[in-house]
């Protein structure tokens, strides 16, 4: 932790950046912090409770943050994939940012969760995560971490759902999605949802019905998952932010598995890598087209 604070202090004192975007303690665990004074750098922390994806603050639409000028951002491996996504899609310039990578051995689901990370409380998305440290970072801090171990198994949950018959699946999803109040927290917290005007906000024509009933919710969540196809960085923020507790990560994980199996694509923190939707190959499989 001292390593992180010293580095932040140095970056601010050398005027390499105007602000550090990192984490600090709060009475409910960790929360995002903007540090502009070198004297405040001792507030910076990082451990398994720092679950938030700070890349969500980097969208150019957030004018109040853009005003701060050059930023240094504390990123985990999954956050680095989001930064890479924003660079890939021309929302950011790599040279405008200093990236402080932190080695990560998995996080809990909520920042207020236990001080101990164990197989019970680790976030399901961290189980099976193979990236201990971001490769995109300028600086790398923290101790070497071992691969996270956990009991949750999203692939198992997916195959359980896949085993149901279509009618059961439809009523399962209708029922899960009927909890949605369309607060759009999932969209606001998502680092990759940066459209100036979202299709869900358009009223003429209203492609996605805005009232929170099953029909509109179904359309919204399927569209959301599709718009994130090959772009979702699996940071789990949508699911964490959802006040209705809808397992949104399952939809994203399903789509990630589809693009992995069809196009051999895994989301990476290499900004030069093309995404599967938006690129194509002449010999793509087309077994479903008559």
């Amino acid at each position: 932790m001292q390593e992180l604070r010293d580095l932040a202090k140095k970056l601010l004192l050398d005027k390499q950046v105007n602000a550090i975007l990192g984490y600090e303690w709060d009475r409910r665990g960790a929360r995002p912090a903007f540090i502009t004074e070198a004297g405040d750098c001792d507030r910076l922390v990082f451990d398994h409770r720092c679950v938030q994806n700070l890349a969500a603050y980097l969208s150019p639409r957030r004018a109040n943050i853009a005003q701060l000028g050059r930023l240094a951002v504390v990123i985990k491996a999954c956050d680095a994939r989001a930064v890479a996504g924003l660079i890939r899609e021309n929302q950011l310039k790599r040279e405008d940012l200093v990236l402080i990578g932190v080695r990560c051995g998995g996080v809990v689901v909520n920042p207020s969760d236990s001080e101990q990370l164990n197989a019970e409380n680790i976030a399901p998305r961290c189980v099976g995560c193979e990236q201990r440290e971001p490769t995109l970072a300028d600086h790398l801090v923290g101790e070497t971490q071992s691969a996270p171990v956990g009991k949750a198994n999203r692939d198992l949950r997916l195959s359980e759902i896949e085993k149901l018959n279509p009618e059961e699946r439809l009523s399962l999803w209708t029922s899960l999605l009927s909890q949605c109040t369309r607060c759009y927290a999932c969209r606001q917290v998502c680092p990759m949802c940066f459209c100036e005007r979202c299709i869900a906000d358009k009223t003429q024509p209203a492609w996605i019905e805005s009232s929170p009933h099953s029909r509109g919710n179904f359309s919204w969540h399927l569209t959301r998952a599709l718009h994130l196809a090959g772009r979702c960085v699996d940071c789990g923020e949508c699911e964490r932010a959802c006040p209705a507790g809808i397992p949104l990560g399952l939809l994203n994980h399903k789509v990630a598995r589809i693009v992995a199996s069809r196009y051999g694509y895994a989301v990476s923190d290499d900004p030069s890598r093309e995404t599967p939707i938006g690129s194509y190959r002449l010999d793509d499989e087309q077994e479903f087209i008559a």
Partner: protein, 150 residues
């Protein structure tokens, strides 16, 4: 009146190949099922997955998506992009519980009037077998009314 179920099917077709192909089927006086309503778009690349969802929302029992064969796209690559998009959409749709048999994808060129008639007849037969699509989520389907099975 027969009590045979007559499905409503919406076809999203590209202007350059399938629409012209469907026109050819008409001018060639081919007989085909009258259940399909055609919506003409510039290219399969213009067909958003939301069009398909919207068709189901508004009561369609089935959807056909059709455009130029690979390498024939008027805009060079629209159908290649569409192919990827629909491949992912189709699998996600299946995961969400919409029977993929309700959505037919095909390539029909401007000279394939006969193939279009075949696509229309097959899709109509297939959707007729599946029956009306009443299960698509409706505004009435709220938490309390649907037993969560998991």
């Amino acid at each position: 009146m027969s009590d045979l179920f007559e499905p409503n099917i919406v076809a999203f077709v590209c202007n350059w190949c399938t629409y012209t192909g469907a026109d050819l089927a008409g001018t060639s006086r081919l007989t085909m099922a009258p259940n399909v309503r055609i919506i003409r778009l510039p290219c399969t690349g213009r067909i958003d997955t939301l069009f398909i969802l919207k068709a189901f929302e508004r009561g369609a029992d089935g959807v056909i998506v059709s455009g130029c064969h690979p390498a024939d796209c008027h805009y060079t690559a629209g159908n290649y992009h569409a192919r990827r998009r629909f491949a992912v959409f189709r699998e996600l749709m299946e995961f969400a519980g919409i029977d993929p048999q309700r959505v037919t994808f095909s390539w029909v060129s401007a000279s394939e009037g006969g193939k279009w008639a075949e696509v229309v007849n097959n899709a109509t037969e297939q959707v007729r077998r599946l029956g009306p699509f009443q299960k698509y989520p409706s505004p009435a389907a709220h938490a309390g009314e649907i037993a969560c099975k998991s």
